[in-house]
Every structure is written in structure tokens, then in C-alpha cells.
């Protein structure tokens, strides 16, 4: 069973990123389970979302360690410390999150801002996660999912920036 997830705060679109990832994996024929934890999201608070996927039915989606975890905000990291501690490949925004042991620091928000896709920061994160997961056909599947949603242009651009960022970092 494989997995990837995102940590951040309300307003960053964590749940949407998770849903797009889940939707893409679903299109690829995987068994997928997606979970998220948020409050009244328009109003801040830590948000956590992840998917697990497999070729077989998923016994248990409640897991303590993720294969890939992208952290976009300190609040998220703090609240889900135990997940962060146990997860394997961790990428975090070095400006918004305190250093994470064994994690890979990246300038995610800054890059997003630079490329004018700050509003789609979550898609940048998704691109990073996607690239690291390296599932066959995932980019096309994500594209398909995004096409069915609002702001396709912005989102796909951001996604591609994420792919590239992760590529550059050669994780």
C-alpha cells in the first residue's frame, strides 16, 4: 500500500489537493482511500489530508506514516508531529515551516508567488508529491481531474511548477 499527503492550514487548499490526487489515482484504476482532518476551513486551523492506494482493496486507511508528505505550514506540522516523525519522504516549505528532521526544505510558496500561482499553492504541492510518487500516468490523470474543475489553467500551471521543483531537487 502506498501513500502521500499534505499538511498545512485552512485556506491553503490542502483538501482539494488531496482530492485531486485521490481522483487521479482512482482514474488510474487503483483502490484509493482518502482522509482529511480540518476545522471550519475558511477560518484557519491545521489541515491534514492524505491518500492511500493499492492494487488491492485497502484494508486500513488509518496509518501513522506516509510515504510522501508535503508540509506547507508550521501549524500543520505542529499538530501532526507524530505523523511527521514517522513519515518517509518529507518535503517542507522552508519559509513557513520550522526545520524538519530528515525532511527536504524547499521554497514552495516563494516559487509559487514568483510564478504567479500563489493562489494555487496546493497544486504546486500536489505536483511535488506526484513527482515523488512517480506513479505511471499520474500527470495525465491529474490533468483530467483538473479539467473538470474550476481554474484549470492556473491549477495545471501550478501543478507543473510543482513537478519541476521536485524534479530539480532530484528527490
Amino acid at each position: 500500500m502506498r501513500s502521500a499527503g499534505f499538511l498545512g492550514i485552512g485556506g491553503q487548499g490542502i483538501v482539494f489537493a488531496t482530492t485531486v490526487l485521490g481522483g487521479a489515482l482512482y482514474r488510474l484504476g487503483y483502490y484509493v482511500a482518502q482522509l482529511q482532518n480540518y476545522g471550519a476551513s475558511v477560518r484557519g486551523g491545521a489541515v491534514y489530508g492524505y491518500v492511500v492506494f493499492d492494487e488491492d482493496e485497502i484494508v486500513n486507511p488509518f496509518i501513522e506514516e506516509l510515504e510522501v508528505l508535503v508540509i506547507l505550514h508550521e501549524q500543520g506540522r505542529r499538530r501532526w508531529e507524530n505523523i511527521v516523525r514517522k513519515s518517509k519522504k518529507i518535503i517542507y516549505d522552508k519559509d513557513l515551516v520550522k526545520p524538519v528532521e530528515n525532511g527536504i526544505p524547499m521554497s514552495i510558496a516563494e516559487e509559487a508567488d514568483k510564478h504567479g500561482v500563489y493562489r494555487a499553492l496546493n497544486m504546486v504541492a500536489l505536483g511535488i508529491a506526484s513527482r515523488i510518487l512517480g506513479v505511471k500516468g499520474i500527470d495525465e490523470a491529474v490533468d483530467e481531474v483538473l479539467r473538470s474543475r474550476k481554474n484549470y489553467e492556473l491549477n495545471i500551471k501550478a501543478y507543473e511548477i510543482g513537478l519541476e521543483l521536485a524534479g530539480r531537487a532530484r528527490i
Binding site: 471550519a40 475558511v42 477560518r43 484557519g44
Partner: protein
């Protein structure tokens, strides 16, 4: 540095508030605090705020520095009634949403008003259920699309202030959030000139996230629009039906100073038990 007049009535440690950026709830807070200030109220020790569940219900809890009871959805008025009856010396103010006070809590509102219960109730009419993500409220305009009215709202909105004015309530007014000065003055009136019986203020303040932004407007744009949309009752009455639909009637619907429930109750008991 100069300090905002509202801060002394607030719990600073929990600021900024949990409301969305631009949420008009904060403007009501300013008006309320300015009213307190102008009435010379130094602190809110003798005030009790009671609210239900919803964004507007978060105004007092935890932000206002006073005793506050953040109760169940719809039940602020009975809790407030209990507080007031148990200690009539306290100033009891209810703040809540249109869903909270007029939908699930509608019966309590109606009966507290009928009893002329000694409470000040401020209802934020933001046209939706903000906290649960924008579903239709009893105040949602006819035809509006929300998550629970995907084909347009088939119901007609409730004119809450008018209905309450039709009861034994002492004081009833509706103001738009864009009418800062009269809103503030009305709060002052409801706390001073009219300090007994049931006092009801409806504050028309569309939810910034689920109404204003859905319309593609910024909170500032909408505020300016509201300044035109909200007119005084008299002006509104003189409008054609179509014009009326496009405007909101605001002003004081009723201002009396009859004895409230508590006075009447005590009077009857004194009469019967022979105390004077």
C-alpha cells in the same frame, strides 16, 4: 500608539477573530463597542452575553471580554432568559445568527418577544448559514442558489423584524451593517432609553464568504452597494413593489417602554402576596 476604542472590550489574547477576512461581524462589534464607550461603560462586568451556534455566535465567545455563554444552536434566548430571571440586575445581551435565532431558535424568539422578556437580542442576518458553509437560511432571498437550494430557493425570506414588531416586544429595529452611525445609536437606545422589556435589532450583513464573494464582489464593494440598497422604512414604503424587492427597509420599527416581563411578574406576586 493610539488604541482602538474596541480593544478594551475584547480579549486581546484571542485576536484576531476567527472570522473570515472582511466578515461584517467585526463591524457590528465596532458599533457595539462604540455604543458602550459613548454610554460610559468602562467594563462589561455586569453584562452577560449569550449566543448560540454559528459564526455570529462567536462574536461574544470568546472575543468579548465579559461573561459569556456560548450555548446550543438555537437556544441562546432561553439560556439568556434564565440568566436574566435569576439575576435581574445583569444586562443580558443575545447575539446570534439568522439561522440560530430565526430558524431553529424561532420559537424562543417569538415567545421571548411575546413575554416582553427583558433582553436585548441582536440578530445578524447574513442571509445564510455561514458556519456550516452557506446553506439557505430563513432569510435567504427567493431564488438564490445555495448548497441546499441548488435549483434556487423556493421559499420566501422571513421579515424577522416585522414579525417581532407584531408581538409585545418593546423595541424593534433593523439596520444594515453599512449604516454604522444609526446602528450604533440604536444599540445605545436599546441599552439606555429603552432598557427594559424585549429589544430586538436585526443587522443586515450578508456573509462575505458565502454571499458576497459568491456574487463576485469584494467586501468593500458590497458595503458600498449596501449603502444604497438599504433605505429608511418610510422611503421603502413609498417605493413600487419591484423597487422594494431591490431594497432593504431599515430603521426603528417600534420603540415603546412598557414594563418588561420581570416587572410585571413581580407586580402580580406583590399584589397577591400582599407585599408592596
Amino acid at each position: 500608539m493610539a488604541e482602538h476604542f474596541g480593544l478594551k472590550y475584547l480579549r486581546r489574547e484571542v485576536l484576531p477573530t476567527a472570522f473570515c477576512p472582511g466578515c461584517y461581524n467585526g463591524i457590528l462589534m465596532n458599533a457595539l463597542f462604540q455604543a458602550f464607550m459613548e454610554l460610559g461603560i468602562e467594563d462589561l462586568k455586569r453584562f452577560v452575553f449569550v449566543s448560540g451556534i454559528g459564526c455570529s455566535s462567536w462574536i461574544p465567545s470568546p472575543f468579548i471580554k465579559a461573561d459569556s455563554l456560548h450555548t446550543l444552536h438555537g437556544r441562546a434566548i432561553p439560556v439568556a432568559t434564565g440568566v436574566k430571571l435569576a439575576n435581574p440586575e445583569l444586562n443580558v445581551i443575545v447575539i446570534g445568527g439568522d439561522g440560530d435565532l430565526a430558524s431553529i431558535g424561532g420559537n424562543h424568539l417569538l415567545h421571548a418577544a411575546r413575554r416582553n422578556m427583558d433582553l436585548l437580542v441582536i440578530m445578524i442576518n447574513n442571509q445564510v448559514y455561514g458556519m456550516t458553509r452557506g446553506q439557505a437560511a430563513p432569510t435567504t432571498p427567493h431564488g438564490m442558489i445555495t448548497p441546499t437550494t441548488p435549483y434556487g430557493n423556493p421559499e420566501r425570506p422571513m421579515d424577522v423584524a416585522s414579525i417581532i414588531a407584531g408581538t409585545n416586544a418593546n423595541y424593534v429595529a433593523r439596520w444594515c451593517i453599512s449604516q454604522y452611525i444609526p446602528l450604533k445609536n440604536s444599540i445605545k437606545d436599546a441599552l439606555s432609553r429603552y432598557s427594559r422589556g424585549f429589544r430586538f435589532l436585526e443587522v443586515y450583513a450578508p456573509c462575505v464568504t458565502y454571499v458576497v464573494r459568491r456574487e463576485g464582489k469584494t467586501p468593500g464593494e458590497k458595503l458600498k452597494e449596501l449603502m444604497k440598497k438599504c433605505v429608511r422604512i418610510k422611503t421603502w414604503r413609498e417605493m413600487s413593489p419591484e423597487e422594494r424587492e431591490k431594497h432593504v427597509a431599515t430603521g426603528v420599527f417600534k420603540a415603546e417602554d412598557k414594563p418588561g416581563f420581570i416587572e410585571t411578574y413581580k407586580k402580580y406576586i406583590a399584589q397577591a402576596l400582599g407585599e408592596k
